[in-house]
């Protein structure tokens, strides 16, 4: 056996570092020929060893291999885009190692964007925050934006351009495209088809227009599985033109939602939640609150937040809308009867009429067009248009009915005229309505090109697959819900040589090789109104929004009468909804989103058939029963989940799951609801059959019990009761007197960190949970471990139901570590691994932890999380740059928990110290606080009596959870207030006559 000398990489690195230029290369050559290195190579590449021995090629091969290996191993790996991008907050002379920079960009989903600031550590984006200047964000973010950083570094992303699964160069692709286009030139592009998702990007639209100018016979189609077709169809019916509608909830005192989950779903949800919560804050004498009525078929986060909620089947919602429209005085609306209590028409209509011009009727994105028409008629009749309801020109470059578009493409395909099909993003093979048989038709296109982040279901059926850039890797532009344009700048050079949509589409033009930067900048150079383009450009990039690009409100009159009333459908109805996190399935390979518990069901890693308790009883179903769901002749097998608040005789399924080529994370999670979805029943349908299979399917949830057991945990009351006794929550919480201890009170000399969480503001969007996961390097554990109760989220949103299971109301309570003054966990740790800091933080010392887990047993809030295995991913190289360098990646066998983002506290303290000042209030934002759309979470120094958190803790609504244990938590809650309409005559949903309410587990 030959005694190998190990290659001393450190020595090699030192040797290379001292060499320069030509010398450098010479060193590499020398390096490649040393005996140690050849041995190293042979050991690393045993299969090559025989090749290496063979004569002539050996020297050359070794040199190449040696150089590339040495370079790969020895160079720094910062991947900065070549073009200039501008930091947002601070613009240092040069990058200071250890100091993160923030850059503004935007994340589009289905073409509609949220503005973001992305934290970058030495050129690696690590954390996404909201852009305070962006209308859809106002500094906050949704779940998907928070999780997008994981998608960027996802090792399963497509990494190479391929032709029929074989790796090809970009030049080869370009050659093939040009050849195909040459054939099209003669026939005006009659065989060219472009399929995109919804396009709002001005640059992209301009590119497509120029392609269509070049090939007039070519066609451009748009397909969007979760698109807003209903609203568009309705606007055509009602106004005679396509119109984009959004709502100014900051002006709305009364809101009626017709199957709209507007607080947590949709491109403007973050903004809506912000505006909604802003009108709900009760502070001191300011006791006015808005009121929310929700009529919906499935229990959503918005429905749980409602002051009054009415579960109705989708077809009944349409009839209810008609009846309400008639009651508010919409001309021509006919009466309709249904299974709802009378006050749901009378009292609601009166409440709306009392608030003419200050109310809003919001139709659900996925409700029928008739509901949309009726809602806009009501808004018109109530004088809301222009005040709470804003109409503008459409955001899309070309508004189109996505079903008709896809049908058109399928017809083209089937007629055999398509020579070259270019699909820009999207995954139509997976998402197309089942009856269109897109998958079968696709094969009839002679050349198929698919640009996509993943080598997905559609890529598998295409000739060419081009890896797409992540939005953090590419130049582009996009629009917000109100039309505001953001120019997206990349934070990092494409990790896998991906191409953006702009760069792909430019291959179809005469300028077939242009960078995304040139394309976008060139477009705006032509459009920019400013004299000094360079200044304008820098400003736009810096701010993350292009000024004055919001679409102007326009006045449109309702032209049509109310839609003909349709009879309520018989049989069990089915509603198709996008998954709240995976959306249409595009985020299926994102572990954070898969594991994030769904707002109401707390299901993780799976979707389910949501069935009402009464219906389940009728059909003899139990949660986790595997059933066969049959709809319009198509069948899927899926597990049942009994959802309190689901409308009886209706089921809701979420699509986006059941991917087969999503990647290692998303494959096999859940079932594919698209298999049931047809173009005639995109969102709602009737006549679904449910057949028990007799088998069980284990679902993983993070919360199994949704009843508070009469305990005062998430306290909620009513506005009226607050006016009578503002301290009702404190009375219930029974805080022991501070004298109840033998020890003298500890004096906090400097800061004393604390947090106040306003339960009235929390809408259960879970953005805080993902923000925390991203900030604190929290691992994903997988379905099996979640099922065992080992999820690692440091922050969770507890959801409790009250009232009857058929029609419950819900309370949401985010629970981070309480940082108790007298923390039970600290007392029992045998090795002082969890201890109190001088600022009152309950610190966790990972290095010292031996893992007795006693601290968790003794934590009444159960916020501690244990690394039962080595959950953190230490091995996947692509994930390593993602980790927050300020936070330890934990090993197995140690306890962890919320730290109040201590790394952010220290950072601010260091900055303050260098500037010779104290830390300002609001300077430190915890990750959860920063992400929260409604500003429900406030963090700060409670020793500073003027800080926001200290003032909130002085509010009469402020109480400590489990105060009776005398743990004296630093995290306190502001009790939830509801504003029920006395006319509705329902029993209040508050907690006041404590313990007397019907409660079921």
């Amino acid at each position: 056996m030959k005694n190998y000398e190990y290659l001393d990489l450190a020595a090699v690195r030192a040797r290379l570092a001292s060499a320069r230029g030509r010398e450098y290369w010479r060193s590499l050559e020398e390096l490649a020929e040393t005996e140690g290195f050849t041995d190293f190579l042979e050991r690393e590449f045993p299969r090559q060893a025989s090749v290496l021995e063979e004569g002539p090629g050996r020297r050359q091969f070794l040199k190449l291999m040696g150089a590339s290996l040495a370079l790969a191993g020895l160079t720094a790996c910062t991947r900065q885009p070549a073009e200039e991008i501008l930091p947002y907050v601070r613009q240092p002379e040069e990058l200071v190692p250890g100091k993160p920079l923030f850059f503004a960009t935007a994340m589009p989903v289905s073409g509609v964007a949220t503005g973001l600031l992305v934290e970058s550590h030495e050129g690696r984006p690590t954390k996404v925050e909201g852009n305070p200047q962006h209308p859809a964000s106002l500094g906050a973010t949704g779940v998907e934006a928070q999780a997008s950083i994981l998608t960027l570094y996802d090792p399963d992303r497509s990494q190479t351009l391929s032709y029929l699964g074989e790796i090809r160069s970009w030049a080869a692709f370009l050659g093939a495209i040009r050849q195909a286009l040459d054939a099209q030139r003669g026939k005006q592009g009659a065989g060219l088809r472009i399929l995109t998702e919804t396009v709002t990007s001005p640059t992209l639209a301009d590119q497509i227009q120029s392609i269509l100018k070049l090939y007039p016979a070519a066609r451009w189609y748009q397909w969007e599985p979760a698109g807003s077709r209903a609203a568009r169809t309705a606007s055509l019916q009602a106004f005679g033109q396509p119109v984009n509608t959004y709502y100014r909830l900051d002006n709305a005192a009364v809101i009626v939602s017709l199957d709209a989950d507007f607080l947590t779903c949709g491109p403007a949800a973050t903004r809506y939640a912000h505006d909604f919560a802003a009108r709900r804050r009760v502070r001191g004498n300011q006791t006015a609150m808005n009121r929310l009525y929700v009529v919906e078929s499935a229990m959503t986060a918005t429905g749980g937040k409602a002051d009054h909620r009415l579960p109705l089947r989708p077809s009944e919602i349409e009839r209810y809308a008609a009846a309400l429209a008639q009651a508010v005085g919409t001309p021509g609306a006919g009466p309709a009867q249904g299974g709802w209590p009378d006050q749901w028409i009378g009292a609601v209509a009166r409440d709306l009429q009392r608030n003419r011009g200050n109310c809003a009727v919001i139709p659900g994105e996925h409700a029928s067009p008739a509901v949309h028409v009726l809602a806009q008629q009501m808004n018109q009749a109530l004088g809301n248009a222009g005040r709470t309801v804003i109409h503008t020109d459409p955001l899309e470059a070309r508004p189109a009915d996505e079903i008709e578009e896809l049908r058109g493409l399928v017809n083209d395909l089937n007629s055999g005229v398509v020579d070259l099909l270019v699909m820009v993003g999207g995954n139509p093979v997976f998402t197309a309505p089942a009856d269109l048989k897109f998958k079968e038709a696709l094969g009839k296109a002679r050349t198929r090109v698919h640009l996509s982040l993943y080598d997905d279901e559609t890529s598998a059926l295409c000739h060419w697959h081009v890896p797409e850039t992540h939005y953090l890797e590419a130049w582009s532009d996009t629009r917000a819900f109100d039309g505001t344009v953001s120019i997206m700048q990349p934070l990092i050079a494409p990790l896998y040589r991906g191409r953006s949509a702009h760069e792909l589409l430019t291959t179809l033009t005469e300028q077939f090789e242009r960078s995304g930067y040139d394309i976008v900048r060139d477009y705006w150079r032509r459009r920019s109104p400013a004299a000094d383009f360079e200044a304008w450009w820098r400003r736009a990039l810096h701010d993350g929004v292009v000024p004055n690009t919001a679409l102007p409100p326009k006045t449109v009159a309702v032209k049509s009468g109310p839609p003909a009333s349709r009879p309520a459908r018989s049989g069990i109805e089915i509603a198709f909804r996008p998954d709240p996190y995976l959306y249409d399935g595009r985020f299926a390979n994102n572990g954070w989103l898969q594991e994030l518990p769904r707002p109401m069901s707390k299901l993780s890693w799976d979707n389910a058939v949501h069935v009402a308790p009464a219906t389940a009883e009728k059909l003899g179903l139990q949660s986790e029963d595997l059933v066969e769901l049959r709809f319009q002749g198509r069948t899927v097998t899926a597990p049942v989940w009994i959802s309190p608040g689901q409308a009886p005789d209706s089921v809701t399924v979420h699509y986006g799951f059941g991917r087969t080529r999503a990647g290692k994370v998303g494959n096999g999670a859940g079932f594919n609801a698209y298999a049931l979805r047809s173009s005639s029943a995109m969102w709602n349908g009737a006549g679904v059959e449910i057949r028990k299979t007799g088998r069980k399917y284990r679902l993983a949830t993070t919360q199994n019990h949704h009843s508070m057991q009469g305990r005062h945990l998430a306290i909620s009351g009513e506005a009226g009761e607050y006016r009578k006794n503002p301290r009702f929550a404190r009375d219930l919480a029974k805080e022991p007197p501070p004298s109840l201890t033998l020890y003298p009170e500890w004096k906090y000399e400097g800061a004393a960190w604390g947090m106040a969480i306003d339960l009235t503001a929390c809408v259960n969007c879970n953005a805080c949970v993902v923000a925390c996961q991203s900030e604190n390097n929290i691992p994903v554990v997988g379905k099996e471990q979640v099922g065992r109760g080992r999820e690692m989220h440091w922050l969770r949103v507890d959801t409790y139901f009250k009232g009857s299971p058929d029609d419950p109301s819900a309370v949401y309570q985010p629970v981070p570590c309480m940082h108790c003054e007298t923390a039970p966990c600290e007392l029992v740790c045998p090795v002082q691994a969890t201890a109190h800091s001088s600022e009152g933080l309950n610190d966790m010392v990972y290095n010292r932890c031996v893992g007795t887990r006693y601290c968790s047993n003794n934590c009444p809030y159960k916020v501690r999380r244990f690394n039962f295995f080595r959950f953190a991913d230490w091995d996947t190289p692509s994930l390593q740059p993602m980790y927050n360098p300020d936070v330890t990646v934990r090993s197995r066998g140690v306890m962890e928990k919320c730290t109040y983002c201590v790394q952010r506290i220290r950072e601010a303290q260091i900055t303050a110290k260098r500037e010779d000042r104290g830390v300002r209030d609001g300077e430190i934002q915890t990750a959860c606080q920063q992400a929260c759309p409604t500003q429900a979470i406030v963090f700060g120094d409670i020793n500073d009596k003027n800080s926001r958190v200290a003032r909130l803790k002085g509010e009469p609504l402020n109480y400590s959870m489990l105060a009776e244990l005398n743990t004296r938590p630093r995290t306190t809650y502001l009790a939830e207030l509801r504003n029920p309409n006395p006319e509705m005559g329902e029993p209040g949903q508050g907690d006041i006559p404590a313990g007397l309410r019907r409660e079921r587990t």
Partner: protein, 461 residues
Amino acid sequence: MPEQQLLDAEKGQAPVIGPGHTFATVTDKISSVVLTQRQPLMWFATLSTAFLLTMLLLLAVTVLFAKGTGIWGINMPVAWGFAITNFVWWIGIGHAGTLISAILLLLNQPWRNSINRFAEAMTIFAVACAGLFPILHLGRPWLFYWLIPYPNTMGVQPQFRSPLVWDVFAVTTYATVSVLFWFVGLLPDLATLRDRSQTRLGQMFYGMLAMGWRGSARHWRQHEVASLLLAGLATPLVLSVHTVVSFDFTIAILPGWHSTIFPPYFVAGAIYSGFAMVLVLAIPLRAAYGLGDLITMRHLDNSAKVMLGTGLIVAYSYLMEAFMAWYSGVGVEKFLMLNRMTGPYAEQFWMLVSCNIVIIQLLWFRKVRQNTLALFGISIVVLIGMWLERYVIIVTSLHRDFLPSSWGMFHPTRWDWATYTGTIGLFLLLFFLFVRLLPMISIFEVRTLLPEARVKEETRA
């Protein structure tokens, strides 16, 4: 029945030693088990089973160290499961040995002389099994020594407010004193074996262990003083060790744990399960080795009575626990008790009640106490019951505490079972090696039970 004939006509009790024994027969009988007798089939059968189970333990521990505590069923909120249950169970079993050897010595109960040796051995092996678990259950077991105060460069010491640190002291003290006591007690008998051994190896082995014991009056005197002193040391340990173990629970604020009744309740429970284990070991031993005249029905009867007594204390504690939960008026406490009785672990709870309270009532009847088979069965039931008691205390208290949102369930995995049965194997392996290599009954102490010994003393007086 032969057993009946042994009844002492006067007291209606069996004698502590069978008739017809002399000093020589006692020594012959006990030492022959080690030196000359062929081991009975039961020894081979038990030892090989125990060996296989010990191998299973090794496998389970290897997997545990390689992968982490996640191989067990523990989770959040039930972060303690089998490991701590087993720890408390084993420690409890050990208590009977110390009670018999120390307290009964001080209380001058001569009947203890024929069972104290193997009861002490049982204590040591049980403590050895118990001592494994606190280390195995750590997330990072290789750092267990951080619980021990020692001068270190980190400048950190254990946190002395934590009962887990008290545990370290309690258990190590207990183990040390038990081993010393046992070994000191063994010295005269080791010398006997040295003198009687026919092989060179045996003479060397026992000779070294006997540490030069020659049986001089001076030796005997010092031996007696040392034994009494160690008994005095061990006596408070019987009470303190399980009291400290119960602090592991009572210090916590968790409903079901936070209770002042635990120390006496745990001590009683420990002795209860300890005597059950004594019976479980004694009954087959005396049958297999024909030791019925040394471990007589009197011993079994007395052990059964201790079991009945401590069992009643345990029953009273259960009752008090339930009463206090109701009487306190604290919602979570009431809920806990109700949940124990009717919740998902109700089966285990009612099983424990029937094992620990209902079935032992049979011991009121002499007929049952005189029936070795019944006694053996009841002892097994008590051991199961006492294991369930700890399981119920740990799991039902943790699985549904203050916040319903965080409630969960504990389901043991096969590795939980493997580790548990593995330690039973280890215990039996050590015990049966002890039976083979050392005198399982104290020769010199049993000789003092003989009439000859008594006569001499009386005449001297």
